[in-house]
Every structure is written in C-alpha cells, then in structure tokens.
Amino acid sequence: MSSQQVPPSLRNLLADVLEMSADEIMPQTNTDTVENWDSFRHLQVVLAIEGEYNVQLDPQRIPELTSVALLQAELEKKGIAL
C-alpha cells in the first residue's frame, strides 16, 4: 500500500499533526508505527480532523481509531467527502 491511497487532504493534515512527510502517511500507518503518535497526539489528530471536515467524532470511538485507514473509514462512514 502507498501514501497515494490516502486522500490528499487527510494525508497533508496527518503529516502536519504527526510531523511527518506526506509521503510517509500510508493507510497502515498507525499509533504503533509512529513514535510520537501518543494519546495527546491522538487528541490533536482528532481535533484537526474535526476542524478540517467540520465533523464530530464520538468520544467512545475516538480511542479505537488508531490507524490512518480506520480514521479514513470512520470519516467515509459519516459521509464526509475526502
């Protein structure tokens, strides 16, 4: 899988928050593979996504969205055009 499979807007946003290059953001990128993706960073990921796509994520779902693919799927499920 490659970074091209992640929609550009989400890819760029995650690159900012996780302080990585956009090319490194792959669907399988997750909290275990990115060293600084801890719980605070995860909160920043969520806030950035909510601000960017004008959406609210369910606090109970938030801790489960631990990879790029899961975040993307959650947004798509909510009908967000990525």
Partner: protein
C-alpha cells in the same frame, strides 16, 4: 476552494522562506496564515516551522527565548501549537514544559523539584474549578449560602498561599489562569442571577479574590479567562464533549484566541508598554477634512457620526490620564487646527493642551516621528501611530519598523477604538503615581530646554533649575516603579538586566546589598522615581550590578548623585573599591563613558562574568565621588555622605 488554495500557497511560501533561512519573512507569512486560518493542522505546521527556525529567529528577528513551565489540571497539549505561534508573533520563543495532572501542589512547593530544575522565566498556573474549589458546586446547590463564603475564602487563601510559597523560592514571573464562570447550574438562569450564592456568583467572587491576591504578589498577573470566554460566548467556549472525554478546557475553534489572550496576559511582565500615541487629525481624530470642510464642517460631538470620533478622543484622554503621551502628527495648516480646537471645543474631548507635542506641517510623517522621538528622549519602539491613510501607514511601517502602526478604518469610524483596544500596546499590570504625572513632566522638559538657551554657563543653568534628589531604598519607594524602570530603560542603562521585583528585593535585603531609587524634582516639575541602582558589597569590593536612569533627567548631574550615594553606602559597608560593569547594547551608547567620566579605570573581569561585559574600578579609600554642588539631596543615604570620615577630596 479559493481560500484553501490561498492557504496552500501561503504555506508553500512559508516553507520556501524557512528553507532559505529568512526567519523574519517566514514569521511575517505565518502571521498572515494565522490571520486567514486558525485550523489546528495549520497551527501545528506553523509551530513546527517556528521550532525549526528557533536559533535563526533569535538572531534575525530579535526573538527572545522564554522558558515556560505550566502547572495544570487540564489537557493543554493541543493548545501548545497555537500558544507557540502567538508567542512567536509577539517575539517570544516558548520553551514549554508541562507539569503532571494534579501534581501541581508538589510541583509548586518543592523548591528542589522539577520547576526549580527547569529554571523557568514564566510560570503559568492553569487549574480548573474542580481542582481549585471542587466542593463549591454542591455547596451552591441551594443558592442559600451555607458555607459558600467560607469555602471561597479558604480556596482563595489556599491559592494565595501556594503562590506566595512559590514566590519565596523562585523569581519566575507568574500568570494565574482565572476560572471560567460556569454557564449553567441546577438553579437555572433565574436562580443563578438572583441568588447571591449561586455557582456563577460564587466563581466570579473567587476569581476576584484570587485576582486581588495576584495583584499583591510581585511579578504575578491574573489572566481573566472568563472575560475572554464571555467575549466569544461561554456556551460555545467549552466543548463539553471534549471536556468530559479528554479534559480539554477550550473548544478547538478558540485555541488561537485563547493563545493570543494568554500571551497578552504575560507580555506586561516582560515588556514595557508603549508610551506615545501619535494620531492623525482628518478622518481619524475627527471626521472629514479640515482644509475642505472647515472647522464647522468636521464631524465630532454627540451625534452620529461625530460621536464615533468623540469616543476615540475619550479613549485617548483616558490613556493620557495614566501617562500615555498624546501627539498630533497631521498634514494641515497650524492656524486652521488651532481654530478648529478653539471653535469646536464643546464637541471635542481633547484640548490642544492635552497633547505633549503637535507636529502639524506638510513634511513627511516619518520625519515628524523621528523629531518627536528625539525631543522626548523616547525610542521609536515606544511609539504608536494611528492614521486613516494607508499610504502614510505603509510609509511609517517601511521607514520606521519599530513604530506600531494602526490603520484607522475610514469607512467604519466606530471600529477605531475597538481596533486600538485589541492591541497590547499600552497594557500594564500596575499604574504608578509617576505614570499619571508624565504629561506635565514632558512639558516641563520643553521649558527647561528654553531656559538652557538663556542661562550663561552650564552650572548657572543647572543651579537655576533647583534640582532636588531624594535617595531611598527601593523598599520604601513603590517597588512596582523600580521594576518598571528596569523593564523599560534602554538608553541610560549600564547592564540592561531585566530583574524582577523579587530580585530587587533581594538586593535591598541582602547584607551589604543596595537597591537605591532616586526621585528628582526641580522648579518646573516632579519627575518622580527616575533611577535605580543595584549593588552588592562583598569583602572589599562593591559591585554595581545595575545602574539606570530615565533619559529625561540625564545631563543634570543626577547620574553623579546616584554614584555618590552608592559609593558612600559601599564605604559604610566596608568596601574599598567600586566595581562597575558596562554591557554594550544597540541602545545604551549614551552611558558608554559613564564610568570613565567619573574617574574609574579599566579593571579585569571578575570570575563568572559574561563575555560582553567591560569592567571599571574606582578606589574609594582616597576620595569618594561627590554630590554635584547644584543638587540638593533628601533621604537617608545622602545625609551620611557628608559625615563620612573618608571624604577628603
């Protein structure tokens, strides 16, 4: 979308500027991006860029690093990028360390703990209601007040005790984060408003108590977070979902406003306010063009649109009441302006007399500002310029970048006051008695200049001024004023060390220590407290740590009086020599020859001295520096000078 592509473009330019090492340009672009977009991802991008540019920003944009420790009981991590960005835009590079959740008591009280090790310049205390007064909500349930007043008193006293205990071992500046008044309680809006001990009333009272305590603690500012929340709407300020799930105290849409206000709260602890407001006249101080509309045609007074301008004039008048100097800088005919002020005096809140200077001519405004700066002995970085003409504003920005420029919105005159109030130019946490008398003092300066032209010799002139210097310990004078002088004096300041109030107190109380303030008055006016010296005698040497004087008293022998006072006290403390230090800066060349002018010779640097310092010494065993004959002295320090047995020159 056009806005998004604008952002992408701006981000690319930030990247390019950063890659080229143009720190100031990158910062200007970051300012632009943060004005257009406050999206969390953009702020994180900006914060990262600022962090990467750190050392370059320090070199190129004279940005100062500020070690900031935050004790907290809430989740502030997501706010930090915005905080870093807003601080950088105010020229501070924050080096932040966050305390643990709920461990604030140990952190504040442990003098050998994490805070002391970190050696912060700034301490932020950000606790929520749960932590400060967890029992209050239940006590307020009936609104009847059983125990509420007592609980408020105890909680405020506990916070004050914590802050004072911290202050006794640490001199970091403190910002205490006030509580946001809860938007609702089980009493409902009507009960909340009418019952004196409702939760909103109780929390507001608690805030007031803590603010008062902060006011009494040196270098401690209260950050009124509730005021800010109310401005944007308390109901939206906190996202309850995110607060309950993650203890996030502020909704993410307000991160930037919150960060900006928090930065504004700490600025006056580190930086002196600006001192002069230069205003244009036509379409700024009044509506219309005087030269075209005539004195009766310009808009000012009680009816719209004149009242927009009247409001602005009143705002300026209020600034003037606390010592901000007002000046007119206008392209007009002087006679027309004088006629307008005379004919429309009933419709104007300001008289010509309220202005310390009037630059009314057809010259370039940048020239006028330069002349004003010289005449008042005030740096251009203490000037604010307000003008409706974008061309004039741009010209000042380009030629005099130190001047803060505010563009008055000519089509929306009702917004001028609001725009001015949004800027931190004149923010202070204390107003001293000396501030209020400043206009008269600067006017007196102009009169002195006239007398100087007529007096025969320098000494005759100085004697004719009738100068009286009162020398006091900094503890006897208002300490706030001494600290204010340390913070804002740039030109006649030998070492430019920005000590805090606690550090000044340290000098005053130490064995062999001196913290001397000087008050000066003459026949034209009372300049108030204008100088401060800090010195410490150890063994045979009295080392002068700091010596500074307001520029408006220089050249009248006051600088010599200061030295005479320190020398005589040093002698009494057993010192045989004075050791003076000069640290050159961009601005303090006026005092470069201070020590050599007073008979000091070059000395070797003591151990541990910083590299840029030049040291001078003076032997005190043969003679002492003398008080100038034309100066009369008052106060303890000076009397004993004449009684000193070693005085024999």
């Amino acid at each position: 979308m056009p806005t998004d592509s604008g952002q992408t473009d701006c981000r690319q330019r930030i990247k390019d500027a950063a890659a080229a090492g143009q720190a100031q340009a990158a910062l200007d672009l970051i300012r632009q991006l943060s004005t257009d977009s406050a999206k969390p991802a953009d702020m994180m991008f900006c914060a990262k860029t600022i962090a990467d540019l750190g050392p370059l920003l320090e070199q190129q944009a004279s940005i100062r690093r500020l070690k900031t420790y935050i004790v907290r009981s809430v989740t502030l991590e997501p706010v930090l990028p915005s905080l870093r960005v807003e601080a950088a835009l105010a020229r501070y590079l924050l080096d932040i360390k966050l305390g643990g959740f709920g461990s604030y008591i140990e952190e504040l009280l442990d003098a050998a703990g994490a805070i002391t090790k970190f050696q912060p310049d700034l301490l932020v205390v950000a606790l929520d209601l749960e932590e400060i007064a967890g029992g209050l909500a239940d006590l307020c349930a009936t609104g009847a007040g059983e125990g509420v007043a007592q609980e408020i008193g105890e909680c405020a006293a506990r916070m004050e005790g914590l802050l004072r205990a911290f202050r006794s071992t640490n001199s970091a500046r403190i910002v205490f984060h006030g509580l946001v008044v809860p938007d609702q309680s089980s009493l409902g809006d009507v009960g909340d408003a009418n019952l004196p001990h409702s939760l909103p009333n109780a929390v507001a009272e608690l805030n007031r108590r803590i603010a008062r305590a902060c006011h009494d603690i040196a270098d401690c500012a209260f950050f009124d977070a509730d005021h800010l929340a109310a401005r944007f709407g308390r109901a939206r300020w906190r996202d309850r979902r995110m607060f309950l799930a993650s203890r996030l105290p502020v909704a993410s849409q307000f991160f930037q406003s919150y960060a900006k206000a928090l930065v504004r709260a700490f600025l006056p602890l580190f930086r002196a306010p600006r001192k002069v407001l230069c205003t244009d006249l036509d379409n700024t101080l009044w509506g219309g063009i005087l030269g075209e509309d005539g004195p009766d045609g310009i808009a000012t007074g009680n009816t719209y649109p004149g009242n927009c301008y009247l409001e602005y004039q009143r705002y300026l008048k209020q600034l003037s009441a606390r010592g901000i100097l007002l000046a007119i800088v206008s392209k007009n005919n002087r006679a027309d302006v004088e006629e307008a002020f005379a004919r429309r005096s009933a419709d104007l809140a300001l008289k010509l007399d309220d202005f310390v200077a009037t630059k009314i001519s057809w010259d370039e405004k940048s020239t006028a500002l330069r002349e004003l700066s010289e005449k008042l002995s005030l740096g251009l970085d203490s000037f604010v310029f307000v003008d409706d003409n974008p061309v004039e504003c741009a010209a000042i920005q380009q030629h005099l970048p130190e001047v803060a420029v505010l563009s008055a919105p000519v089509d929306e005159p009702w917004r001028t006051v609001e725009l001015l109030a949004q800027q931190p130019y004149f923010d202070v946490i204390a107003v001293t008695h000396d501030d209020a008398g400043r206009l008269q003092e600067y006017k007196a300066q102009a009169q002195r200049a006239e007398l100087a032209n007529t007096a025969a010799s320098r000494e005759d002139f100085l004697a004719s001024l009738g100068i009286v210097c009162a020398l006091q310990s900094a503890l006897e004078a208002p300490l706030a004023r001494a600290v204010q002088l340390l913070a804002k004096t740039n030109q006649f300041n030998l070492t430019t060390r920005r000590h805090s109030a606690a550090e000044v107190e340290g000098f005053a109380k130490a064995n062999g220590g001196q913290a001397v303030v000087i008050r000066v008055r003459d026949r034209f006016g009372d300049a108030g407290v204008v100088g401060l010296a800090l010195a410490q005698t150890t063994g045979e040497t009295c080392r002068i740590d700091s010596l500074l004087l307001s520029c408006r008293v220089i050249g009248r022998g006051v600088e010599t009086a200061m030295l005479a006072a320190i020398a005589s006290q040093a002698r009494r403390d057993g010192a045989a020599r004075l050791l003076g230090e000069f640290i050159p800066t961009k601005k303090n060349s006026p005092c470069a020859t201070y020590y050599s002018d007073h008979g000091f010779t070059l000395a070797s640097a003591p151990e541990g001295a910083s590299e840029g310092s030049v040291f001078y010494e003076l032997n005190l065993t043969d003679s002492l520096p003398l008080m100038p004959v034309w100066i009369h002295t008052e106060g303890n320090t000076s009397h004993e000078l004449s009684a000193s047995p070693t005085l024999s020159s």
